[in-house]
C-alpha cells in the first residue's frame, strides 16, 4: 500500500463544571474539597474587585494603563492551586488570580501598572517571574527555569501562561520544540481569550484548536474549559504530574474570554459584537462557582455580603499602600544596573550627568548645575 496514514489523532476537551451547572462527579472527584472551593471563590471575587478598582484608578489618572483580567480568573488560579509552592509561575499580564494566590501582594501589580519598577521586585520565595511584556518571550524562560531544575536534580517544574496571540511568535514555537525534544518539565498554559487586542484568534491560527500546536512538537496536548476551575485544576494537575515524574511537557489550551477591553487604552466595542460578549458573560467563571457552592449550601447571600465588604477593605488597603509609596530617588535608576557599578557609571550616578560631557563630571561644581535647573 503506497499511501498509508501515519498519524491519526484526536484532541480532548475537558469540562467538569459546565456553564449550566452540570458537574461531572467522576472527573471532579477529589479534585477540590469543599472548603477549598469556597476559598477559591472568595479569592476570585476579591480579584474581580481588584480589577474594578485598578480600572477606576486608571480612569481617574492615578495609573498609566491596566489590562483587565475580568472573565479569566479561573485559568491561572486553577493552575496555581494545584502546583507546588516552589514550582515556577512564569506569567504574562492576565494572571493576577494565580499570582495573588501564590502570595504576591496586590499592591505589586498596582505599582507595576502605575509605572514603578518596584512592582516587579518580587520576593524570591514566591517562585514567580515578572510579568512578561514583550509578547511570548517568557515561554523560553520557563523552559530554561525548568531545565535548570532538572540540571540540579530538583523536581520543581515550571508553568508558563501566555495568550492566543503569543502562539504566533517564534519564541513560542522554539520553546515548545525545546521542551519536547529535550524532555523539559514545563506546563504550557495558553489562555485563549478569543482576541489579541483587535485581532481574533483565527488570524493567529487556522487550525480548529490551539492545543494542537503542542501536538506538532510531539507533546501531549489538551483543551479545557478555561472558565471552569475544576477543569483547569484537573488538566494542570495531570500535566504537572507528567512533568514531575517523566520530565514531559504538556500544552494546555484553556478556552476563555476577555470580558473587558485589551487594556484601558483600548475600546473593544469598535471591533467586536456585544452579542459575543453577552454570551460569554453567561459563562463567567465566578458565577459558575458561586452557583456550585450555593447548590451545595456552602454559600449564601450573607456570606456574599460579608465577602464584598472584605474585598473592598483588602483592595482599598492595597491601593493605599501602592499610592503612598514615595517616589523613587533619582539615583535609584542605577541601583540594579550591574552587580557593582563601574567608576564611569558611578560618576553618572553621583553627578546626574552623563559621561559624555567630555570632562570628568565630578569636577563640575554643583552650584552651577542648580543654576541650570532654574534657567530651564
Amino acid at each position: 500500500m503506497p499511501v498509508r496514514t501515519v498519524l491519526n489523532t484526536t484532541i480532548e476537551h475537558v469540562s467538569i463544571l459546565d456553564e449550566d451547572g452540570n458537574f461531572d462527579a467522576d472527573l471532579g472527584r477529589d479534585l477540590i474539597p469543599d472548603d477549598d472551593a469556597v476559598r477559591l471563590y472568595e479569592h476570585m471575587s476579591i480579584c474581580r474587585h481588584f480589577d474594578e478598582i485598578a480600572f477606576k484608578l486608571q480612569r481617574s489618572g492615578r495609573m498609566g494603563t491596566y489590562p483587565e483580567n475580568r472573565g479569566q480568573e479561573a485559568a491561572s488560579l486553577g493552575a496555581a492551586y494545584v502546583l507546588r509552592p516552589d514550582d515556577w509561575l512564569v506569567p504574562c499580564y492576565r494572571e493576577n488570580t494565580g499570582l495573588f494566590w501564590r502570595g504576591l501582594p496586590m499592591e505589586m501589580i498596582l505599582l507595576h501598572w502605575m509605572g514603578d519598577e518596584r512592582g516587579n521586585q518580587i520576593a524570591a520565595d514566591l517562585a514567580m517571574t515578572p510579568q512578561a511584556i514583550p509578547i511570548g518571550t517568557q515561554l523560553l524562560h520557563a523552559v530554561g527555569l525548568a531545565w535548570a531544575s532538572k540540571y540540579r536534580g530538583e523536581d520543581r517544574i515550571s508553568c508558563t501562561f501566555f495568550g492566543d496571540g503569543a502562539t504566533s511568535e517564534g519564541d513560542c514555537h522554539e520553546a515548545l520544540n525545546f521542551a519536547a525534544n529535550l524532555n523539559i518539565p514545563v506546563v504550557f498554559l495558553c489562555q485563549n481569550n478569543g482576541w489579541a487586542i483587535s485581532v481574533p484568534t483565527k488570524i493567529q491560527c487556522s487550525a480548529p484548536t490551539l492545543a494542537q500546536r503542542g501536538m506538532a512538537y510531539g507533546m501531549p496536548c489538551v483543551q479545557c474549559d478555561g472558565n471552569d476551575i475544576f477543569a483547569v485544576a484537573k488538566v494542570v494537575r495531570d500535566a504537572a504530574e507528567l512533568a514531575r515524574t517523566e520530565h514531559r511537557p504538556t500544552f494546555i489550551e484553556a478556552v476563555t474570554y476577555r470580558l473587558g477591553d485589551h487594556t484601558t487604552a483600548d475600546d473593544a466595542r469598535r471591533y467586536r459584537d456585544q452579542a459575543e460578549v453577552d454570551a460569554w458573560k453567561k459563562r463567567d467563571p465566578l458565577l459558575r462557582l458561586r452557583n456550585y457552592l450555593s447548590e451545595r449550601t456552602l454559600w449564601d447571600d450573607d456570606r456574599e455580603k460579608a465577602l464584598a465588604a472584605r474585598a473592598k477593605k483588602e483592595v482599598a488597603a492595597a491601593a493605599r499602600r501602592a499610592e503612598e509609596i514615595a517616589d523613587p530617588a533619582r539615583t535609584d535608576m542605577f541601583d540594579f544596573l550591574y552587580a557593582t557599578l563601574s567608576p564611569d557609571i558611578e560618576a553618572q550616578r553621583s553627578t546626574a550627568r552623563t559621561s559624555s560631557l567630555g570632562v570628568d563630571p565630578t569636577q563640575l561644581d554643583d552650584a552651577r548645575s542648580s543654576g541650570i535647573e532654574e534657567a530651564v
Binding site: 498609566g64 509605572g115 514603578d116 519598577e117 511584556i133 514583550p134 509578547i135 511570548g136 496571540g165 503569543a166 504566533s168 511568535e169 517564534g170 519564541d171 489579541a196 487586542i197 483587535s198 485581532v199 488570524i203 493567529q204 469598535r270 471591533y271 517616589d327 523613587p328 533619582r330 535609584d332 535608576m333 542605577f334 544596573l337 564611569d344 557609571i345 553618572q348 546626574a352 550627568r353 552623563t354 559621561s355 559624555s356 560631557l357 567630555g358 570632562v359 563640575l364 552651577r368 548645575s369 541650570i372 535647573e373 534657567a375 530651564v376
Partner: protein, 327 residues
Amino acid sequence: MTRTIEYRDALREAMSEEMRRDQRVFLMGEEVAEYQGAYKVSRGMLDEFGPHRVIDTPISETGFAGLGIGAAMSGLRPIIEFMSWSFSLVAADQILNNAPKMLYMSGGQFPIPIVFRGNNGAGGQLGSTHSWCVESLYAGVPGLKMAIPFDAYDAKGLLKTAIRDDNPVFFLESERLLGIKGEVPEEEYLIPLGQATLRRRGDDCTIVGFGRPLYFCLEAAEALAREGIECDVVDGRTIRPLDIDSIAESVRRTNYCVVVDQSWPFASIGAEVAAQVHEHCFDDLDNHVIRVHSDDVPAPYAYNLEQEMLPNARKIVEAVRAVTYAG
C-alpha cells in the same frame, strides 16, 4: 496653501498618497487595519484600500518583516509597521541580516525597496522593554537608510521619499510627537534623504540633534538665549545618510558644538557625529565637542526617573555652557 495637521495624519497622508500613486505599495503590521493602527496612524486606510493592501498580521514580527523582504524581492514596495521599534528586536535577523544585504549579496539582483516604520524612543513611561531607541543599534549596518522626522511637515515629506527609495529605509517616528500639529502644504512635496535643516539660528554654538530630542534642544536654546548665548539648532533629519556638510558649515560659523542624541552614550550616533565634526572642523573648533545622551541605564519606568534619564534641556544647557566656557 497649508493646513495644520497632526504628525500622525502627516504619516498617513504620505502612505495614502503613495499607495494611490503606486499599486505596488502596501501596508502590513500588527493592528494596522481593523484597529486603524495601534496609534491611529493608519486611520481610514483599510476603508480606502481594502484588506488586500492594508493587512493585519499575527503577532509575528519576524514573520511580517521577512514576508515584506520577500515581497520586496519580487518588486513590491512594502511599508512594514512595527507597533514599536522595540518589537523590531524580535525581527533583527530579517531587518539587519537580510534586508540591507540582499542587494549586495545578490550582485544587484534583488533591491529591497522597503520601509520599516514605527515608534521609537523613551518618554511615554512604557518601561524599558518598550522604550528602545534603536538608532545607535541599527544605523551602523551598511545598506540601510534611516530617517527620524521632527514634525508633521518632515514626517510627510520624508516618508514619501522613503517609500520611493529603492533601499530599505528605517523610519523612526515618536509616540510623543504623534499628536503634535504642524503646517503641511496642500500640494505634494518630497524631502530628500540626507539633507539637514536649521531649526533655530544663532552664532554662538551649534546644537545638533535628531527627532524628538530636538524639542529639548529648542527649549535649551531658548533658556540659553535669555542669558545671551545664541545657538544654531541643526536637525540632521536623517541619520543615514548623514548630512555632515551642513553640520560642519554651522560649526565653522559658531566654533562650538554640542551633539544631542537620545541613545545611550557608548558607541552611539552622538559619538559618531562628534567624531565626524572633529574630523571636518578640527581647525575651526574652539573646544572639543560635547555630547548629551540619555543616561546609561535602561529607560526607567517611574515618571520622574524617566524624565531625568532623557537628554533633557537641563543637560543640554549644561553642555552648551561647558563647551562655550560660559560656566
